[in-house]
């Protein structure tokens, strides 16, 4: 419940060939507290990320919307086909409107 979200970590190749399919991995440290858990007879305050958005050259490529069954420290893997040098932009938002961002670049040629 500190003032800002943790710094996300991205694993993506630095370069790729035209048409290559590349694996993108994302990780952000976050408790993903649902508010349903109790400790010492008191409910632990809810603290959840709502979504992660991945943009590819400015266009939204995939959005993950999180609900209670998503684990702490959300980790995701997905696959992109790279046609040209690609700028990736990652955004996480929590239920209080706080935002974490990360960028990556995959060079072609």
């Amino acid at each position: 419940m500190s003032g800002s979200l943790a710094t996300p970590r991205i694993r993506a190749p630095r370069s790729a060939r035209t048409g290559e399919v590349v694996e993108i991995r994302t990780l952000i440290e976050h408790p993903m507290e649902t508010g349903l858990r109790q400790e010492g007879g008191r409910a632990i305050t809810r603290d959840m990320l709502t979504a992660m958005t991945v943009r590819v050259n400015g266009e939204t490529a995939v959005v993950a919307e999180f609900r209670n069954g998503s684990s702490a420290n959300p980790y995701h893997v997905f696959f992109l086909r790279i046609e040209r040098t690609t700028e990736l932009d990652f955004t996480w938002v929590d239920e209080r409107g706080r935002v974490a961002r990360a960028q990556a670049r995959i060079a072609v040629g």
Partner: protein, 136 residues
């Protein structure tokens, strides 16, 4: 830790009402009737740690502008709340695959629904046993 987890789970209203699952499914896909097949779901038969269960979902799709997966919805049928995550996909993804980690409070069935760009919905389910329930 394990003892605390068990006590936590027992303090919750239990088991989850099937109505709640039905409501969550309808919120995701409306009244469309899902068809089986067309999805590969990789998940452990037995998860040591219910708090971090690795899941891979791969939907058969060419991922073109004309024919692609628009959303993948994941539900845990016997968690206190059934919603796990929804993934909104576009043809920018080379294949309709996502890998994630989920929480399972106890042994249960997980359900995957995939919405296609032509409006069809595919579904697949898997039973997962959980050695140590996740803190949901």
């Amino acid at each position: 830790m394990r003892r605390r987890v068990l006590l936590t789970i027992m303090a919750l209203p239990w088991p989850v009402l099937a109505d709640e699952l039905q409501t969550a499914i309808e919120a995701a896909i409306g009244a469309t009737r899902p068809e089986p097949g067309g999805i590969t779901l990789r998940a452990p038969e037995r998860a040591e740690n219910g708090g971090q269960v690795p899941i891979t979902i791969l939907v058969e799709s060419p991922q073109t502008a004309a024919e692609h997966v628009t959303a993948i919805h994941l539900f845990a049928t016997r968690n206190p709340t059934p919603g796990v995550a929804s993934f909104r996909l576009t043809p920018a993804l080379a294949r309709a695959e996502v890998q994630t980690r989920i929480r399972l409070a106890e042994d249960q069935r997980i359900l995957v629904l995939a919405q296609m760009s032509d409006g069809r919905v595919r579904q697949v389910a898997a039973e997962i046993r959980v050695a140590s329930g996740g803190c949901v």
